[in-house]
Subunit: 492 residues, 3 copies
């Protein structure tokens, strides 16, 4: 079968198919000038780009694709860009006035950190969707929430001792950049210039950029935009294959706080991907269910443009990744309906705290999507399920998912009540006495219960169809044990 | 080399080889009728089936295979089935009288949940073997053992508080279905009928099936059979390649309670599979050691029909997966000889409890295989080892494995003695005072020592040839630490 | 693209390219004699060898390769070996006088355990480098360090109870062989002879070898050499592809004490490898950055001979794996500059203990590389980074790495000070009172802080470019929590 398939592919290539892959778009003179040195200095990155579609097609070629295979969504691409391949100069020198990091470099104004503001010149629709994605706001949503700041401080802070008591100093900027903000995104800031010596080229001057390197999803860029397309569309090949494989999502979604990848890998879907994925077609647009792939990857359910083998639309492409997600199941004390606005710093619960739920689990409903919107999003994701599964499977799976949300929220409430008792008894210093809710031992046991275990259980329900991540692998076995441990701390 | 190999494959295909893969068996009219709608409603699943051997061969074609490549073991396949490809109707409408979930659906009596009772029409020998497999009894063996029930309750129960004391309510049916019974199998039960609306087809009536979806290995089916072939032979492609790759086993055997996959992946065998498996032949029957594959996967040692390149038999195919396993190394307090009967609910230890060992580690010998049978099973598995390894390697490995069993059983005994002391001292309420042995904090520490750490150590010895899972990764580092923690809880 | 690439490969093969892969070197008569029986007794291993380069080329063929593709570094290969393929007899019968395990076997003096002393006959340069590698000294460095012995004992010892107190018996030789020394290497020792029965061949006599099987990196061999090439160059195919893929390193570097593989897999580099590695060329020597592979594996940065597509040298091949590593970041209490000598048993800190740092974190500087050497090694590794990354990325990454070293060393110091207080208060018995620093509960919490968490954080910085292993996945979340737990144990 594979051989036959290979021959079909050969034939398709010969007659010019494969969605318009052609090689030979001319390079701009500026890009040629870049390559002259950089193919020697950074050969790896240049080779990688040469394997990209960008190096082989011009925007004009791309705009010539008819139908849903069209990937370039902008209609106002400047004429000067249209006819040449998308090379070094096209991305790194196009908008120097907007970029605070633009610097003089061999007669060009070059900037290091390409942003969604640059990508949107050709991919405006995707950039627009992504700007509405929670992920593009990941920096501010974390950094400008005081309560999250206390949690961050308890995790990253420089633990020390002042006499017999613990005393935490704030984490350094550098520590922050390689921890929470590695995924959430750093703030890029030009702090000066510096000369660096190159063997064959002598001294050259470059801007010093605080927060660099970083490809976090909510990076604050030097042209004022937020986000980084390269978080998923890995430089410099920008292959849709990379973005569609689950390893990309894994970069940020593998830890025990958000074990999406681990759960996926242990699910039936993940089994099929691991066993057969090597034979799938990851580059076709649109992506045909059953034909191009036999089980969903992350992208299939949350991002990609899907059709049936008959050509019927199953799901629209979206870069606002909660378009088909009613519930937000991780990162916060209780699972809750998704926020309406990707800027979550505006949320206030009934106690005035910047959280989507209050301490007793009640939702800050004004800031969250309503039942109607939740229902519509549920239908969106279930349409994808139903491309392979019967309606009773889909309904049964959803019942379990919502049951797990209810169950874990109830258990988190129990843990929270125990912690309140611990505060009241004076075994730890809670917020009402000016303490952080995250820094003492019982508080850290409490945090485990929801940061890790309740989250894991919900992921297992949501996308793993159960399995060990709902039980022994950071699941209910650990959650119930942790609550018993916390209970023990609260006894006289 | 790879290229040369590719050409050999091309040639083999051209002359009609590859173990009888032919395409073009006719579809039955009933299956054609199914496909008319379902290829539109569930295109993914239909495409997947179209890649299967079932869609391309009739039972008659399959019966024509001579020698050990024969995969269809039944000799009494009804004539009506023999001549057509194995399609929707062949599996979902063949035995409506036996299936409590059969319902009227466009002039057909259709049922959703296909069972081993259906698969055995063509694959009787495998179904028979599987019925003797512990895994097919996984539902009852868990659900009908009172002591396991207490453990299950401590893990899944709805932890709450009654005044200052913990008070657990039983887990819901839905929670059970997506946790323990996701792998062990649910009980399928028709609880009524319901109408569902389809855009293009109007309202249709379906049975409501409690416990669905589920592909657990011990599922209790609506035709009275137990088990699910689809647990490993993933629907609807039913590719032997899937079943032979370790990702299938991983679905249930990855968590810290049964870390077979993790240990395998970190072993030399797993390394070779990960590095070179993409070049192996996973579909050939019989499976030739060294030629088709260079290192065993789970299936190679525990299930598949293996031969040497000279055609000599190395191992028979078996779907009773402990055929070559003398020791049962996980899931219970102490490792012990395998039970004689796959129904383990009948076991009673010397104290009358339904466990294969007593609290002090003594075996309930009447219910377990004897030394002679253990020796025969050991020889069975070692024959496979010796297809690649010399006798001194095999003997050395086995010495370590049995040493680990002895060592971990001894450490578990120490932990159990400490717990007995804790009960005696009144720090927790043990079974002799009517308490559960699993619900309080010291009891949960004790459970960690064997559910997780002793198990992991034994898996590392059994199939990993040691490595980090025997030490830091849930191994001895954690086991000894846990026993010291427990000891600390038992001090005045 | 892939198809085009495939055709290029076909063409390259046809014109005799691919670095000299030819098939057809003649086998020696001795090897033919081995194969006569062993292809029947151990067909798997023989098939595996038949896929090797060793089975297809003679040393003379290999010596004919011109330029950097040359893999055989010895210039004094005995004439008798030069003309034949490297088969069973060439490795297992060449140096019988040196091997204490040589025995009479069908008119040949055969030995089981092939050593670096055997491999160096053709690969002298690599053997020499490896003898300077810390890994080749892994047995003695662990076994002959008294302080490590106490840690080993706390992990492996047979935990028991004498009345109410814990009492640990030493671990057995067998337990040691399958735990720490599985990776560090065992001592091989002939302890006698034994007869074994073979069905078709009758009784045969073999030496009994204590410590066998083992392929640990620091194995002490029966010809007096140390190390095992087969640890990474897996028998009997000895494929450079295996050694260059990260799964080989994973065998020993996956656990929480040294999570290199897990961090790599979750990094951008690991993502690219997982997504695209199947299309890379893993066998070419030298290895061309960007062309043969698009992201580094472990071997790319630490071992392999790398060139640019223009043919310029990027990194020399080295089997002394810290050649490009200034810092030693795992396995010890504090991160420190690499030892000068691969034999670390000679190190003494200012307190006379065999550790590269003292209890307060001060370095035993006389035994460690100096700032100049550290700088030179840093430049070595950064040259590889710069094959793909700009200088500001490389500088930013390095700043974070060294910041993490400083941060984790400071946190470890805090934990150590708390433990000192615990000892002083009499809550546990420290070394000054003759106690082990590793066996009691607070000591084990302290050990977690550096054996697991500080290590993991440093790996995340070193090669993962951050991510979850620096935060929730055994990172700072756990480290800070652990220090708070330890602090709690030290309160009155």
């Amino acid at each position: 079968m594979k051989i036959v398939f290979a021959w079909i592919v050969v034939f398709a290539v010969l007659i010019g198919g494969l969605g318009g892959v052609v090689s030979g778009a001319a390079l701009s003179d500026a890009t040629k000038a870049c390559l002259e040195c950089h193919s020697i200095i950074h050969p790896g990155i240049v080779e990688d780009w040469q394997k990209s579609r960008h190096s082989q097609m011009s925007p004009s070629d791309a705009l010539g694709v008819k139908g849903p295979g069209l990937k370039v969504s902008s209609r106002d691409i400047p004429d000067g860009l249209k006819g040449k391949a998308v090379g070094c100069a096209e991305c790194h020198t196009m908008r120097p006035k907007e970029h605070a990091d633009a610097f003089d470099h061999n007669d060009h104004k070059v900037y290091t950190a390409v942003s969604p503001g640059d990508c949107r010149v050709c991919h405006s629709e995707e950039a627009e969707q992504y700007s509405m994605n929670l992920m593009s706001h990941a920096y501010r949503n974390l950094a400008e929430n005081k309560l999250y700041g206390l949690l961050e401080h308890s995790i990253l802070g420089a633990v020390g001792r002042d006499k017999a008591e613990m005393e935490n100093a704030p984490a350094s900027r550098v520590t922050k950049a390689e921890t929470c903000y590695h995924c959430h995104g750093t703030v890029l800031k030009v702090t000066g210039k510096e000369k660096r010596a190159y063997d064959d080229y002598g001294d050259m001057e470059f801007p010093r950029i605080e927060g660099w390197p970083n490809q976090g999803t909510g990076r604050v860029n030097l042209d004022g935009t937020i986000g980084s397309c390269a978080a998923c569309h890995t430089r410099h090949r920008f292959s849709i294959e990379t973005a569609r494989k689950p390893y990309t999502c894994k970069q940020c979604h593998v830890g025990p706080d958000v074990p999406a990848f681990k759960v996926y890998e242990a699910s039936k879907h993940g089994n099929i991907f691991s066993s057969h994925g090597r034979d799938w077609e990851f580059r076709k647009v649109p992506w045909t269910v059953g034909k191009d792939f036999s089980a969903p990857t992350c992208a299939a359910c949350h991002v990609s443009l899907l059709v049936s083998s008959g050509g019927e639309l199953i799901a629209k492409r979206s870069h606002r990744m909660n378009d088909r997600l009613p519930w937000r199941i991780f990162g916060l004390i209780y699972a809750h309906p998704h926020p309406k606005n990707p800027d979550t710093t505006i949320i206030r619960n009934k106690d005035g705290a910047p959280l989507p739920s209050d301490f007793a689990g009640g939702f800050a409903a004004d800031y969250l999507i309503d039942v109607k919107e939740m229902d519509s999003r549920r239908k969106g994701i279930q349409t994808i399920c139903r491309a392979c599964h019967g309606s009773s499977t889909v309904a049964g799976q959803w019942e379990r998912f919502e049951s797990s949300i209810k169950e874990t929220n109830a258990k988190t409430l129990t843990a929270t009540q125990i912690l309140s008792g611990i505060w009241a008894a004076g075994y730890a210093k809670g917020p009402s006495e000016g303490g952080s809710p995250f820094d003492e031992e019982p508080e850290r046991i409490w945090a485990d219960s929801w940061v890790i275990y309740a989250n894991t259980i919900r992921f297992a329900s949501a996308m793993g169809f159960g399995g060990d991540y709902g039980v022994f692998a950071d699941g209910r076995y650990e959650l119930n044990k942790t609550i018993v441990r916390l209970h023990q701390r609260g006894r006289p």
